[in-house]
């Protein structure tokens, strides 16, 4: 790790000001991604603007037909929240399946979404549920937010403050973990809200999270695992590495989608 300046702002506004002032500064959330990269000297921010002391950035509440989660809310808190478990159990289960207890107790939803790791779990939920990302500057629709591997719509100096998830009628997440990292090799989040069915896939795409049109079309007709029988997902544009070929990932997408649909309907 190289030397850096450290700031602990008390508000989002102060954080934004500090971020603007410090060229090459970065906000620090749970630090689960940022700190290991700094330790390995792969990142060398001039300053860390620590969001852990900024007020009003964490917490979970139900607002009408939405679940609103502060950006600094830890995975463990989402996983165990009575509000989330009641209204959006698929999201609680997803959060409970991230990393290990230490990671879940530090890692945050804002950090995960801002980072947009192509194998992270949260992006699939954000995209499938059509969530809205609220920053210190604006509101961004999920469909516009994720812009490829580790790339998002966030502009320089923009800080995620909260994420608002519309409550679906049915939803579930099914993750096939990478055997080593246990990030998603293929993770599929299915959500049904009225006639609208969305299927978001993480881990598989070489451009990060995406919606599977094939699965969505099949499930729009009838929201049932059987509808996915024979659905083939194209391997083009999918990741290939030592853990899985593009073909294997393509194969796993409908398999995981089926299991997610079964799970969504079982509730």
């Amino acid at each position: 790790m190289y030397a850096f300046n450290y700031h602990a702002p008390k508000t989002v506004r102060q954080a934004a000001t500090l971020l603007a002032k410090n060229e090459d500064g970065k906000v620090l959330a749970g630090g689960q991604t940022l700190l290991p990269t700094m330790k390995q000297r792969l990142a060398s921010p001039s300053a860390l603007i620590d969001l852990n002391h900024a007020e009003g950035m964490s917490g979970i509440e139900q607002k009408g037909r939405n679940i609103v989660i502060g950006a600094m809310t830890r995975h463990a808190d989402v996983a165990t929240s009575a509000v989330v478990k009641n209204a959006l159990p698929a999201l609680a289960a997803l959060a409970g399946g991230i990393g290990d207890p230490a990671v879940r107790n530090r890692g945050t939803i804002g950090g995960s979404i801002a980072n947009n790791d192509p194998a992270a779990d949260y992006p699939s939920a954000v995209l499938a549920l059509g969530a809205t990302i609220v920053t210190n500057k604006r509101k961004i629709a999920a469909d516009d937010f994720f812009q490829g591997m580790f790339a998002t719509a966030l502009e320089e100096g923009e800080i995620i403050v909260k994420v608002s998830f519309p409550i679906p009628s049915k939803a579930a997440y099914e993750k096939f973990p990478n055997p080593a990292s246990r990030y998603a090799l293929v993770g599929v989040f299915v959500a049904k809200k009225g006639a609208d069915v969305r299927v978001a896939v993480t881990g598989a795409g070489s451009n990060g999270v995406f919606r599977s049109k094939e699965c969505e079309a099949a499930l729009a007709a009838r929201f049932n695992a059987k509808s996915l029988d024979g659905v083939k997902v194209s391997a083009s544009g999918l990741n290939a590495d030592m853990h899985a070929s593009a073909d294997y990932r393509a194969h796993l997408i409908p398999v995981m989608a089926k299991r997610a649909v079964d799970k969504a309907l079982a509730k």
């Binding site: 096939f176 055997p179 080593a180 030592m242 853990h243 070929s245 294997y248 398999v255």
Partner: protein, 787 residues
């Protein structure tokens, strides 16, 4: 002496209170006054010549005390690291061992190779300064694929074709003759995947030169501190033995990887004199992945000849063994003498012929890793046996039973003479415990749920109790493999046991104390076990090859017997009786036929005060030592049965049942033995399903972190059903065979035999990841469709 702590009792581990309350003293916990920190600049290339190495900017960086390179080593006449086992080629010529300098001398040969060391006040300063070292590399082609190594760029001038040795064992003519009579020949091609040991505690070292006495002290994460001292003194030339003390304090796991003498401890101890300060280094996890000696990595072809009744006539094996970029301390013997002599397995095989090529590649050195050669042998034997059973339409248990060795002692055609065993007994118990007879029904039930169920056997043998010194000497070993022990009885009868064995997770503080307390009839808490310091223990060969029980404890009982003999002499004086009338039992010396007796502690006191005898007739004191050299290896064996259920949609393998029946001979502490079995199976399942070191074509280690290298986790493993049979070893006084490696040896073929049974063909690699098994399922499906 209470039955609760005697030999055979599941005594809780004495050392665990210290460990689980964070009171262990590992090398990194030790801090010397004024210590400085070392950072090793490592090669980013697999293979390159160093055209220029400019350290000037680094030398003047803040906090830097010294920047040392291979030139400095040469100037100080510090020798290279050695390989302590000479292997000879088929033609009798010696193997080709390239030089192994602790810091590069003109060339780097794997990613992670040591280019230079920076020593500074803090670790961060050393690391910062290392970034200022300018290295001009001329990159050479990486050599990663063993099959192409012969025609690739030479890694060492001495071995232009990258072949270290071309070795063989067995009778070729007899084996060819056996094959010419064969009714059926089973053939198999196997890859034994490369593993990275991953001890929980990374390697670490502190070199501390005392200018006042001229003595160097090295604190290091070693499984055998005396061997480290011997090598660093006699071969590397750091200092003569009496001026070099090596301390291996608490060590957090080794699995073989801490047997070897590495560049880092060599440099730290040497550099401590150069910079005039203690020098400390602790590997980070990335360094551990890159530079700990790796394990396994074989490519083999084997053929098994059968007669018309399914009896084995002969076995033919060709193996290429990856030895990495340099020959690590014992690397040369692992794929030769620790491998080929085990290829008879539990079977009566009249003729065996094995050829092994040791190959240099531009990868980390490969050396002994839990099991060392024996897992590779067992994997080969048990895979080809299973395949032969399938090809001849024989039940795999029946096929094994038919070919088991049934009378002992048994001389195999590949050196080993098995003293004892009862393979049928282990198989019978395992079949019973695994409910083998109802397997077909379970398979049907799985099929109903869309799952593929399979069952796999592994009837393993290993050679432990390493090793008879003269025998290994005749095979090329540079050292003897006896063990030493000393029993120091204190005046009030408490006891210190000094042992040349080294505990780094095995629980010696408990089992050794259990044995000594039992023999002397004293309380287990009156016995302390001392190990891991060359200033305390005179000499020893350390712990590996499941030798601490069979060899280390045998040395201890030999010393205990001497203590009792001396005690009888003392007691004779104290009890005013003839020595021949003194009996020792349950912790008391008594005069036969009388009620006169003294407790062990009372005799100890008499020995030290020496009031009752004349010091010229009998020496005062009570302290005895012994060296024990085994007369044979020991041969633990057993049968493991693995049952799997595979989800063909994802390729996920679920181990639904694990039966392990082991014959370890006599057991001192069954709880510790079960722990060893659990850990061994976990590592074996790791090899079979999860772990695999992977270098890309450029020689970069792709699996250099836990993001890509899959360590077994608790939820990857089933609950184990453990059973034991016992045919005591006949060649050591305790009847112990050893248990430390059995699980890691037995498990891989059991898993792969189960998976190949489930998918219906033999083409399943290790690690059998979901991706690999899914591919295997696709192949199986195609085959079925074609039929």
């Amino acid at each position: 002496m209470s039955a609760k702590t005697g030999v055979g009792a599941p005594v809780l581990r004495k050392e665990d209170f210290r460990f689980i309350t964070g009171k262990g003293q590992y090398t990194d916990d030790i801090n010397r006054q004024d210590q400085a920190h070392a950072y090793f600049l490592r090669s980013p290339h697999a293979h390159a010549t160093i055209k220029k190495l400019d350290i000037s900017a680094a030398k003047s960086a803040p906090g830097v005390l010294g920047v040392l390179t291979g030139d400095d080593l040469a100037a100080d006449k510090i020798g290279g690291l050695i390989c302590g086992w000479m292997i000879h080629n088929k033609d009798g010529s010696p193997m080709k061992a390239g030089a192994h300098p602790a810091l590069a001398q003109g060339k780097v040969r794997y990613v992670g190779d040591h280019v230079a060391v920076v020593i500074a006040d803090t670790y961060a300063q050393a690391k910062d300064a290392a970034e200022k070292i300018v290295v001009d590399y001329q990159v050479l082609p990486a050599v990663v694929d063993m099959n192409k190594a012969k025609s690739s760029a030479a890694i060492h001038d001495v071995a232009p074709d990258n072949v270290v040795y071309d070795w063989h064992l067995g009778d070729k003519a007899a084996t060819d003759a056996a094959f010419s009579k064969a009714k059926h020949v089973t053939k198999i091609d196997l890859v034994n995947n490369r593993l990275i040991p991953n001890a929980m505690e990374p390697r670490a070292a502190i070199g501390d030169f005392d200018a006042g006495t001229g003595v160097y002290t090295l604190y290091t994460t070693s499984q055998n501190p005396h061997v480290a001292r011997l090598v660093l003194s006699a071969f590397v030339g750091i200092a003569p033995e009496h001026k070099l003390r090596v301390i291996a304090p608490d060590v957090g796991g080794g699995f073989g990887s801490k047997i070897f003498i590495y560049a880092e401890e060599t440099v730290c101890v040497w550099a401590s004199k150069k910079v005039g300060r203690p020098v400390k280094w602790t590997a980070d996890r990335t360094e551990a992945f890159l530079s700990d000696a790796h394990g396994r990595d074989h490519i083999s072809h084997a053929e098994l000849a059968l007669d018309d009744k399914g009896k084995i006539l002969g076995l033919r094996v060709q193996t290429k063994a990856n030895l990495g970029a340099y020959l690590s301390t014992f690397s040369s013997c692992v794929p030769t003498y620790l491998y080929a002599p085990l290829l008879s397995g539990q079977y009566d095989i009249p003729a065996i012929y094995v050829e092994v090529e040791g190959i240099y590649t531009t990868t980390a050195p490969v050396d002994a890793y839990r099991g060392a050669g024996r897992p590779e042998a067992t994997f080969l034997v048990e895979r080809i046996i299973e395949k032969a059973a399938r090809e001849t339409g024989t039940d795999p248990a029946t096929f094994r039973r038919k070919n088991f060795i049934k009378s002992f002692p048994h001389q195999t055609p590949v050196i080993m003479a098995y003293d004892t065993g009862n393979y049928t007994a282990s198989l019978d118990l395992a079949l019973e415990m695994a409910d083998y007879k109802n397997f077909a029904k379970r398979k049907k039930d799985s099929a109903k749920n869309g799952k593929l169920r399979g069952i796999g056997f592994s009837a393993y043998i290993e050679a432990c109790g390493i090793a008879p010194s003269a025998a290994v000497g005749s095979l090329g070993a540079g050292v003897g493999l006896w063990e030493s022990a000393e029993i120091r009885v204190n005046p009030v009868g408490t006891v210190e046991v000094l042992t040349g064995s080294h505990s780094h997770g095995q629980g010696h503080e408990t089992t050794f104390a259990q044995l000594v307390a039992d023999r002397l009839g004293i309380d287990i808490d009156s016995v302390a076990v001392v190990h891991g310091d060359t200033d305390k223990v005179q000499f020893g060969m350390g712990t590996y090859g499941s030798r601490s029980g069979a060899v280390g404890m045998s040395a201890i009982v030999k010393a205990v017997d001497k203590v009792i003999a001396k005690g009888k002499k003392v007691a004779a004086y104290a009890l005013e009786a003839a020595e021949k009338d003194i009996q020792f039992k349950d912790g008391r010396f008594s005069v036969a036929g009388t009620d006169k007796s003294l407790a062990f502690g009372e005799v100890a006191l008499q020995a030290y005060i020496a009031h009752k005898f004349n010091g010229q007739d009998l020496e005062p004191g009570l302290k005895e030592g012994a060296f024990y050299d085994p007369t044979n290896f020991t041969f633990p064996s057993g049968v493991h049965i693995c049952e799997v259920e595979i989800d063909p949609d994802t390729g996920t393998t679920d181990i639904v049942k694990w039966t392990a029946v082991d014959d370890f001979g006599n057991v001192i502490n069954p709880m510790i033995v079960e722990g060893q079995v659990h850990g061994g199976i976990a590592q074996g399942v790791g090899q079979a399903l999860l772990e695999g070191a992977h270098y890309n074509a450029d020689g970069q280690l792709v699996t250099a972190s836990y993001m890509d290298y899959t360590m077994p986790r608790a939820d990857d493993l089933p609950s184990f059903d453990i059973g034991m049979t016992n045919t005591p070893c006949t060649t050591n006084p305790l009847g112990i065979k050893g248990c430390g490696e059995a699980g890691a040896i037995a498990a891989p073929p059991a898993v792969i035999n189960a998976i190949t049974d489930a998918v219906g063909h033999e083409d399943v690699p290790m690690p059998a990841t979901p991706y690999a098994v899914w591919q295997a399922c696709q192949k199986g499906a195609r085959k079925l469709a074609a039929e």
